[in-house]
């Protein structure tokens, strides 16, 4: 029986690129360019990728069969503001089991010499599905990690 649980979380990644917002944005808009940097062999092998880059359009990625399972990503583009912002939602599945549903926001800030890219992902992580090896590692680390996490949380508050 699957135990039902939801954990919400988010993370932010910022990068500064020595390229104009137009060029950085194009790397997300053009399917060939997008594949060039976003798909790679260490993520379950090169599989299928389709990108319909417009508001309401979909992007799908499906990895090649691998020992860890077949990963698939299905996205819908909610908002596309050229050279400024991309907002999309996506689900991640392993062997057709939904692992998470996320909202991703990519902001392109020009102005200086290059482009500052801010990627924010807000995710609902479903039913604690993880890889068996992660679970083993998790049980080894046990409560120490949780205690450490809680201590960390208390410091800034």
């Amino acid at each position: 029986m699957t135990e039902r649980s939801v954990v919400h979380s988010s993370f932010v990644i910022e990068r500064l690129y020595d390229a104009s917002p137009a060029r950085v944005f194009a790397a997300f808009a053009d399917p060939v360019a997008k594949r060039h940097w976003s798909a790679c062999h260490d993520e379950g092998g090169l599989g299928e990728h389709e990108l319909d880059f417009r508001e309401g359009g979909r992007e799908t990625m499906r990895g090649a069969p691998a020992p860890g399972g077949v990963y698939a990503m299905n996205a819908t583009y909610q908002e596309i503001l050229p050279e400024a912002r991309i907002v999309y939602s996506y689900e991640l599945l392993r062997d057709d089991v939904r692992l998470s549903v996320s909202l991703a926001t990519i902001e392109f800030h020009g102005g200086g010499a290059g482009t500052r890219l801010v990627f924010t992902e807000q995710a609902a992580f479903l039913d604690g599905h993880d890889r068996p090896e992660a679970r083993e590692q998790g049980s080894r680390i046990g409560f120490d990690r949780l205690a450490g996490y809680l201590a960390q949380q208390q410091a800034p508050a």
């Binding site: 990068r15 992580f125 993880d130 998790g138 680390i141």
Partner: protein
């Protein structure tokens, strides 16, 4: 990071449960609040999959349920790493493009 743990009272409750299972009244004892407030905090923690409780007779016993938390923590760091690698490759791709702009998409 996790909404359910944003509240200091709930963090205290989770810390107490890290030491071992406890009844609702044991959890409430060190806290200056009503039992019903404690029950409300518990339901948030249960909703987030962090705590499980079981009623035996008239006593509800709570225990920590860390699997969801650990799995989520692992998943988040994996996602972050994946995106960091992707953005590294995007940087390399953009640099490559700048060197030979006449070659278009640069496969």
């Amino acid at each position: 990071m996790f909404q359910a743990l944003a509240d200091p009272t709930r963090r205290l409750m989770v810390q107490r449960l890290c030491e071992g299972p406890a009844s609702v009244s044991e959890l409430a004892a060190p806290l200056a609040m009503t039992l019903s407030a404690v029950v409300q905090h518990l339901s948030v923690l249960e909703g987030a999959g962090l705590v499980r409780s079981q009623k035996v007779g008239r006593v509800r016993t709570c225990r920590i349920e860390t699997q969801a938390l650990r799995a989520a923590e692992h998943w988040i760091s994996e996602r972050r790493t994946l995106w960091e690698r992707r953005f590294d490759r995007l940087g390399a791709y953009l640099a490559e493009q700048a060197e030979k702009p006449e070659e278009g998409n640069g496969i």
